[in-house]
Symmetry: C2
Subunit: 432 residues, 2 copies
Amino acid sequence: MQIILLSGGSGKRLWPLSNDSRSKQFLKLLPAANGGRESMVQRVLRQINESGLACPVTIATSASQKDAIINQLGEEVNVVTEPCRRDTFPAICLATAYLEMEAKCPMDETVVVMPCDPYTEDRYFHTIAQMARAVEAHAADLVLMGVKPTYPSAKYGYVIPGDETDGIYRVERFTEKPDVPTAERFIAQGAFWNGGVFAFRLGYLVDIVRRYMSYGSFAELRNRYEELPKISFDYEVAEKAQSVAVIPYDGEWKDLGTWNTLTDELRDHGVGNVVIDDKTENTHVVNELEIPVMCLGVKNLVIAASCDGILVSEKSQSENIKHYADRLLRMPMYEERRWGEFKVVSSSEFADGSQSFTKQLRIQAGKEIKNSVQADFDKVWTVVDGEGELEMNGITTAMHRGVTVAIARGTAHSLCATSALTIVEVEIGGKR
Amino acid sequence: MQIILLSGGSGKRLWPLSNDSRSKQFLKLLPAANGGRESMVQRVLRQINESGLACPVTIATSASQKDAIINQLGEEVNVVTEPCRRDTFPAICLATAYLEMEAKCPMDETVVVMPCDPYTEDRYFHTIAQMARAVEAHAADLVLMGVKPTYPSAKYGYVIPGDETDGIYRVERFTEKPDVPTAERFIAQGAFWNGGVFAFRLGYLVDIVRRYMSYGSFAELRNRYEELPKISFDYEVAEKAQSVAVIPYDGEWKDLGTWNTLTDELRDHGVGNVVIDDKTENTHVVNELEIPVMCLGVKNLVIAASCDGILVSEKSQSENIKHYADRLLRMPMYEERRWGEFKVVSSSEFADGSQSFTKQLRIQAGKEIKNSVQADFDKVWTVVDGEGELEMNGITTAMHRGVTVAIARGTAHSLCATSALTIVEVEIGGKR
């Protein structure tokens, strides 16, 4: 069995913590078993491992998320990156081709595709195991997860079930986002929400892909990625399939996509450097900055602070954030990278239009920044902690506390961290 | 006529904008005539000049405020700094000795002592002119301003007036902070609040000082400053005086010492990089950080952000700030200096207990940092904008965009800014 985990989206609904380079699934806010905090993607991978599914996981994502995934999940997961953003059908085709051509999986291997961001409980993964067994038993070509609805939502797709055998329902039809009265009628008929989890044999999807394109290698499919139609897996595969079954899941299933829903799942009212007085009620503060946030006598707020900005929102109003965040048009001030992370701590724009950024880089022990070249600005690195080696112009410089190196624009350089390195980078000039 | 302006206090009641080095009177938040913003001390100096008083001003303050005063008011005001913090009586004695010994004022010169922080209107300064005329006319040795009470406050001192002649009342007695019923009774009798404004002839106070100490020079008095009793001017002078008069002032007189009172006087609901949605009500945001603050659907809040921290407070609760700010125990992250200003943009503490600070320095054109020596840390300066000259170890280095200089601990250096200079300073090491 193979799992394909879909990690998409960028979005600003959790601004200022989420930004164009950090999607909501990478925010380390959820309570972890060790008392610490984990991200949505770390949580789902832990749940997969703890549920006994114990199978290889391939993450289908965009190139911009690859560094964050490796940083959070380590090198043992496979990451397949789309060359450009399309939709779930092409993304799943690409991951499937990876399993076929690179991982050399047999055609009758069971594949489960699932999103990385729903907040669920253990039973969710037991349902996934049931779905895999149904595929192995040839109950249907395609097996879906049907989430038991809790209210007549107009936001979800519905699956209308037919006959049932051993807890497996034949799918009669699908409906995308009905209006509320229709949703009520569906639910009365026993309909499920389409949970976006699909199980099938590898060969089943490979046949579908090959209808669009005959490819000789994974690289070829990836190079010709734009030839695949920009369409969702639901429309292109699920709704056209002749033999589809659905297995119900009746447990916790939440989209923690807004501050209002996310804060419901947080263990602590304050994360980070936070002071809250005893008159404050129903307020959550997430502070990624070094400086303290102090709350006095406030009610029903979510407060979030990062290098990108500071949000103070009445909880129910936090759903309107995207509208305002889109206006801000700032580059992300925090990014996770394969080698660690950086944040912008200060920026200035000068009368002549040139800009300067001061960043703090944290490079993990043993990690490397390879062949980096900036065309637009000079920079000065000053090591404030840790040790490493810098290679530039054929010269190796030992990097340790107090060492300062000027790196002119256009100069290729590589940095290897022997121990965890903290560097202050001052970028100078560069009109943008 | 001479004015002595008392600039004291440090206080955290306007945290995070006020800190141990920046008192409330230096916050540039009040609406200025040119559409910009001015501080309380800038406002009072402007009001003095515009009121037609047109006399020299001497500012009595602590050493820690001297740089901020010169930065905000320029070099033309006299600044007398206490060698240590005591109380208003010794501070006024010191300024008086300055007028006597350094400014060589005649003994019959009229001196007006006033606080720098009440928020008042033009009539306040007309009352001061009246007080000065009363001293000149020998109406009394000491003339006070009596502020017309607007409610029976238990926070203020009261002045009980006796007979009146030409709008000048003889003072019958003083009472410090009575309870509310007593205050009500006083007000019914026509009592005033003691406004902390005093007018007298220079010789009157010089005689009082010389009862404590016979000094031959201003420097001598300053050196022996600790011999003066630690007591307020009210107790030591006003309450003991034989001949005291009070002149009423019936106009705006506010202590903008809390966020709740200060925000009432602000012209804009958002100062700095601020986004406020149209559902937000009765909320003020003062943001000194570069990053944006976004408010969605909040009500009755004051939000203030600086390098020292972020406050989110229900307006009426902002009076409790000091209690919580005192717990934070952080060094000030923003300071005004005679040559400009600096802010700490990032700090790190490492496993071995050493610390690193990254600062942004802005040095005004023509200003100089003279003979600076840091004993505790090495630092690296990188110029990101402007031009200047650095003197170190007998060597002059031209400072311009892109120049980086390492300055080892213990090395004396001077920097002169030819044009406005922006420098990123990385402080390294130093266990504190």
